[in-house]
Symmetry: C2
Subunit: 380 residues, 2 copies
């Protein structure tokens, strides 16, 4: 019997047909006016996406590549940084900081929670030599939203401390305007709300951060921001870029800008709210106290293995993510980021109800769907 697999994972996410079409084309050469024209269009659209006049760099790498670029270009050995560490990707900031000989303060948060404003203020007050704050805007491993506006206000007041934000699952989900918020470095990846295959990462940096480029004493080559910025200002890249992904990015950014950034953020907010309220109405518990609009993490019901539940979902056509590290087997993560609409949310909730019943967690069919329908209907 036909079962169509639908990706509801927090990256990669489904590709729009326009992107698939752009990918499945004969290659063009990158050292040409034709490519430069496309690359400049991409740059103009990235600037609109982030509401900035500054150039936004593109690297051929996964998002982790731009995380590394943030650490090795804008800091020096021994620099004290605050890592807001609330999950697997917070942990990655910490590892990067340690690898490249920064001096990180590990502010460890229980997975599923966000930071405490007072505590962060205290750390900043007690460390006048702090050179940076590293955080996830949306911590994908725990589907948790960390408020960066508050951190932006704090960082703005400090002369030599920059705010570095991993926006891998927030850019394209929220309105993330680094200059309004006070973000100095903002990175993202292609395979999330930008609706592309993985292979590109994106890096914005502020004027304040730019001053660090000449000071940093950490060796860099492939991820050399200064060299890359110079080439990209001319519509080229220092090293051969992932040409077909750039061409596809041009398409997906058009889709995003055509929808409008406010509409885009609203759609994600409603999809997220509908998902959260639906799963709660089924008696399930949310993983996060500060849930992100990119994906909803939810505990598997008492006594039911999350991975077994995911298998039931897969049998009827839904691939959702599980938990990482100590959350393995305990949770589901259902994405609603990028190429998803309201009816997709209804579909996955309907499927979840079937999978739950199948695995022995009895609920009345339609309970969660009804809840999601009501929220969507009231927002049409």
């Amino acid at each position: 019997m036909l079962v169509k697999e639908r990706l509801f994972t927090p990256g990669p996410v489904p590709l729009p047909p326009q992107v698939i079409k752009a990918l499945g084309q004969q290659i063009i050469h990158h050292r040409t006016p034709e490519f430069t024209k496309i690359f400049k269009e991409v740059k103009a659209k990235l600037k609109k996406l982030l509401k900035t006049d500054r150039d936004v760099l593109v690297f051929t790498s996964s998002g982790t590549g731009s995380m590394e670029a943030s650490v090795i270009n804008f800091f020096s050995k021994g620099d004290k940084v605050l890592v807001i560490n609330g999950g697997k990707f917070g942990q990655r900031w910490l590892e990067l900081a340690k690898t490249f000989s920064l001096n990180p303060i590990n502010y460890q948060i229980e997975w599923g929670k966000t930071y405490n404003q007072k505590e962060v203020e205290e750390i900043i007050d007690n460390n006048p030599d702090l050179k940076g704050i590293l955080v996830q805007h949306s911590e994908t491993s725990t589907t948790t939203y960390h408020d960066v506006e508050f951190l932006g206000k704090l960082a703005k007041k400090l002369d030599d401390c920059i705010l570095v934000v991993d926006g891998i699952t927030s850019v394209g989900v929220y309105e993330v305007y680094p200059e309004e918020i006070g973000i100095d470095i903002l990175i993202t990846g292609s395979q999330k709300a930008l609706m592309l295959p993985p292979g590109l990462s994106i890096l914005y940096y502020s004027e304040k951060a730019e001053k660090r480029l000449n000071k940093s004493d950490i060796p860099k080559y492939y991820f050399d921001v200064k060299k890359e910025a110079k080439k990209q200002a001319e519509g080229q890249t220092a090293y051969t870029t992932a040409i077909n992904l750039i061409i596809a990015l041009n398409e997906s950014l058009s889709l995003i800008l055509d929808e409008g950034l406010e509409n885009l953020a609203r759609r994600h907010s409603i999809m997220a709210e509908a998902t959260r309220e639906a799963v709660k109405s089924l008696g399930l518990k949310l993983l996060s106290e500060s849930p992100s609009n990119s994906a909803t993490g939810v505990y598997s019901p008492e006594g039911i293995n999350g991975d077994a539940l995911r298998k039931e979902l897969l049998k009827i056509g839904f691939r959702v993510a599980g938990g990482q590290d100590h959350l393995k087997g305990k949770i589901l993560r259902i994405a609603h980021m990028g190429y998803f609409d309201y009816m997709d949310v209804l579909q996955v909730i309907a499927g979840l109800e079937i999978a739950l019943n199948k695995i022995g967690y009895k609920i009345e069919f339609g309970t969660g769907v009804k809840k999601a329908q009501e929220i969507i209907f009231s927002n049409l």
Copy 2:
């Protein structure tokens, strides 16, 4: 009037239809048995390509990423290395070695020439503390072939010196079997003879090189070979990989292995010989004294700007590459690497004859084509 643009550039090269089809598909998730199955197929094919039983790593980056990985994983600060520097990419080895605090001996060769065996032997004899030899198998900027067999024999005799080969435009052009030759690290990129878009780089390392992994004191994260090797042995990657390129690589490797590695090398050898003899019969001078089979570099005729000649070629449908750095405006580089057959060679030579006449360099039509035909015919 319709003019079809044909890529005759030494990377990117044209994509086979099978690859285009593989690229233009809906995405699948990488943390799945489905992806692992494909990735393991890719690995098995890479092993056949390089005739090795060792795992061959894949990174999401351009070729330069794997060049960096070679330097930062297999050497330590202060390590003395010999850089055989005969062009833009030799220069890149030198820059990488300097950036990461190695101690390079810059063996500078005039562009278009290859190394002198005696001189290299002397350097090695005079530097018993030499930890590595870094070379291009095919230096793309000068279309020059550097004999790695000779270097392999030298390196094999040394206990603690490894041979690091940039095979970006040689793997898939020649039969490059690192274990037979004595290459310790061999890297390549996706957008050359592997007939893919850019975005993947590939790294083989020998048992001798592997011993270095625990000794290296250079910080690494994104390009951490040890971490990557552990994950890739399980059919996964440390960081999200360029999923659609991996799927397309599975297709292009099948094309390569179906043709057979010996046939593949023979085809490239004949295409290269036909091109070289054809341009020589037109009175043009080859750029390289040791020409590579991946692309043919040729000087523009006396008094004719190479870039103007390239424009004439582009007008009738052929994009060839020009010169880099001090060779700018002086040369053409015509690729015959990857998805090219004999008739493609005849076509570009016929076009070159037209472009040469158009720009005022009078030759009898068919002169070069005839030469190429004869060579191809005698090899059918």
